[in-house]
Symmetry: C2
Subunit: 127 residues, 2 copies
């Protein structure tokens, strides 16, 4: 079962090498998008953003959902590891704060994928 000829004449497979979205970049953006692509996590972010100084205590967040505390903690961890939130322990309570414009960065990168302009700084005169 060697390769079925990899479609030799019908299409040249090398097209992706000149891809507008390099493999590595696609994986990274996907990782960040997956982190926010969850209704609970979106509401968590919105809830924190709505607080003063874009900061909220975990206990305030936990009781805003019909979910167990470990579940909320898990979601917060995902957002933290994606760089969307940062946590800080202040005495007994742990506060979560929005990382400044991390979401904006992701949104901008996503919008850039759909625009047929030069993505970053490669391929200056390709079109």
């Amino acid at each position: 079962m060697d390769t079925p000829a990899t479609a030799p004449d019908t299409c040249r497979t090398a097209d992706l090498d000149a891809s507008p979205l390099p493999d590595e970049e696609a994986r990274e953006l996907s990782r960040l998008l997956k982190a926010v692509a969850d209704p609970v996590r979106l509401q968590l972010v919105a809830l924190i953003a709505a607080h003063e100084d874009a900061e909220a205590c975990v206990c305030d967040l936990t009781c805003a959902f019909d979910l167990s505390a470990p579940t909320i903690s898990h979601h917060l961890k995902v957002l933290r590891e994606a760089g969307v939130l940062v946590s800080e322990r202040r005495g007994t309570w742990v506060h979560y704060r929005l990382c400044t414009d991390a979401l904006g960065e992701v949104a901008r990168a996503l919008a850039a994928v759909g625009t047929p302009r030069v993505p970053l700084l490669v391929s200056a005169a390709s079109r």
Copy 2:
């Protein structure tokens, strides 16, 4: 040891009713984000966007990845059902085109989640 300032004994779960991101809206945005939160799908969109008229034939897309045709077809379907792409059969071949600025809409909605709607107006009165 009452909580910081808000929760009296337990905390009343009604806080989410005044949420900055309603349940329905969170689910919908999450649905769209999930659709694009995949490296292959991001590259598909970028590849189509890089074509002239933001349109490409499936055969061009399929051979750009090391994936089977059914897999690419599946990803295209996901993007189509999310409203990011539209398909059109032209004779033997099926062409996929970028839905104008559907990605921009999603990106804008995502950025809005992290932006406090009224920065310093309502928050002072609510506490």
